[in-house]
Amino acid sequence: MKVTIDNITIDVEPGTTILQAARQIGGDVTPPAMCYYSKLEGSGGKCRTCLVEVSKGSEKDPRPMPKLVASCRTTVMEGMEVKSVTSEKALDARDGVTEFLLINHPLDCPVCDQAGECDLQDLDYAHGNSGTRTEFVRRTFEKEDIGPYIQLHMTRCIMCYRCVFTAQQLCEVREHGILDRGERSQISTYLNKALTNEFIGNVIDVCPVGALTDKTFRFKNRVWFTKPLDAHRDCEVKGCSGHVRLWMRGDEVFRVTARRDEWNEVRDTPDGRKGWICNTCRFHKKKASDWIIDGPTKIKRISVISQGHYLNLKKPTDTFVPIMGRDPKHLLDIHTVSEVNKTDIDLSLLPRPAHSTDFTTGNVLPEAKQINIQESNS
């Protein structure tokens, strides 16, 4: 089935969504997705960041669709033509959605554990504006401990429902859901009951922002100072993949997460099992000796956190200029823009916190190792 997105035509299986097709093309045309999660049934459609314009419905019915559509929940048709970054309307809507998501966000990135690997930061970088047009007091909620391992910081939540789907689909008892409605709606647990199910820890991984955080890691370190290693163990818990990412500083394991792919989704294991991990692996195996190390994590996802961890990263450079009349806007550029994030510096090798002078003096840190970014034209 042929579909054209931003003038790039691709052949996909029937039933593929526009978003999935765009992900197959990759790069700049891929709409941001804050609520859709391919591993969770029923997810998507809510955040509205992935809106695209369908300029031609299909070969059979070439009429354009009257409204922007959520690409994560719209399946492609033969001959469909979609505009993502080439649509002024879609870009304006995404700008709008980004603003809506931020007007009540606390913007407490400096103290948030998610900072550096936060989808909302990335979204804002790619689609937001500087400055704010709201002058109203932001909505706040009390912090809530949900169980021994997880803290809910509802003020940061963007109501993507991913954690609700995760809890429903991975855990046996339904204890996690949404209370109230509208702007007062909030994630909560059944009568504030502790969530102790063996798989509830996965809600931390699916949360696109810092609303659900790992209490065993809170405030221990900034993610960009830690170095990710892929590791595994033979876990006896049924349904646990045992495939994890260890976030280390020196010899110390600061946190354990599932392995995530370039879309920030939990990745299937090489032998095709679901990548979810159990609470034991996540919260109780905090020694390197608990694990068999597979090697340094190859990060394909471009964001602040990836600083220093890119391996054979492909940075697309062509295609876009002739089509869009501008250079592609890559999240990778954040390293150039910020001036304090250099891809050739591995912060996790620093024995101390980094200072801006480490970057601005022009001296590559003695401890830091050189990393090679491969720019490719494909």
């Binding site: 955040c47 809106l51 709008g96 603003e99 998501l101 109501m159 409605r181 509208g182």
Partner: protein, 450 residues
Amino acid sequence: MSIKLLLQHDKKEGIRYYEAWRKNGGYASVEKALKMTPDEIVEEVKKSGLRGRGGAGFPTGMKWSFLAKPEGVPRHLVVNADESEPGTFKDRYLMEYLPHLFIEGIITSSYALGSNVSYIYIRGEYAWIPDILEQAIEEAKANGWLGKNILGTGFDLEIYVHRGAGAYICGEETALIESLEGKRGNPRIKPPFPAVQGLWMRPTVVNNVETIAAIGPIINMGGEEYAKIGVGRSTGTKLISACGNINKPGVYEIDMTCTVEEFLYSDEYCGGIAKGKRLKACIPGGSSVPILPANLLLKTAKGEARYMNYESLSDGGFQTGSMLGSGGFIVLDEDQCVVRHTMSLAHFYMHESCGQCSPCREGTGWMYRILKNLEYGKGKMSDIDLLWDVQRRIEGNTICPLGDAAAWPVAAAIRHFRDEFEWHVLHPEESQTRNFGLAHYADALEVATA
């Protein structure tokens, strides 16, 4: 004198009960319908030109013919009695005074659609009406109009009344279905549409109370006769619930050929503006549709008289027109403040948003707060443009039409009453002590002659 099809007997003694209803020709439509085939009934409804009375005005016959009919899968009719749109109270009147007219419509519609279990989803605040409906259902059952093998045709039907918990959003058909299933009332992401996968993933038709109530008269008189009433694609009769600053608020049945002016000023209907005041503005079809200033309400931008029907009220699009919507006719006299009025609507939508999608969840509250500042003399000129921008980015970008419904009233208020907003900004103190008044909103418009 206009034609009465729905409110023919509403003032008669005891009409709420079976005896009186039957004596006045009740259940004749069911007798007639059950002798027809389901497809013939759908055909009659198509011929009648009946359009959904819940707000969107979608042709009912067409909706029915879209219902999927997979082998061995039950189908359902769900009647939407959630009526929570501010200004709309026509379904309440129908159910309260003419429950048997409504039940008749459900029986015939269920038969036509092949639904053996049909539901009435009723707004929680209508606390006393489920009893009336359940009483009517009992009576109908006792007289053989419901239950097993109705009139010996082999058709079985049970009707259940389900009480909502007071959420406006549960009037949106897919949220209603979720709520009926016992879940949180969040609208579903479409497709799939209810006609294919609705209640318990079965093919489902959701119709408004008034739509279903009109089925009886359509069967009795025939679709073609029904279509002769009214004008153009606005066939049959429509209930209008009129409220606001008028002499005679209430529910009126019109045949869609009367002008807005006649409806507003004649003694048969609203009886004119209360206390001899002058008309400033009106929302002709329930709180979600655009507000119009007096001059654009009574006449279209082309200078023609405006009529109380689907086409005429939307003449001029959103630039200079509005919509018939659900028929909630809200009248504002010269003493009303459009900024305050818009603020209170914005509060409603903020309160009723389900919170699923970002533009509506965050945008409705933002609009309300900007409007509150403007209303209380704390607004800036730039707030008006900001407000415009916020509504623009909600509209069309949400899961369900509640987002649009929140955006449209704000857009229309700014479009037509911008100077009233600006006056609030320029006169922060004076605007706290008096209203802007009628200003030029009733002045005759210049009609461009091409």
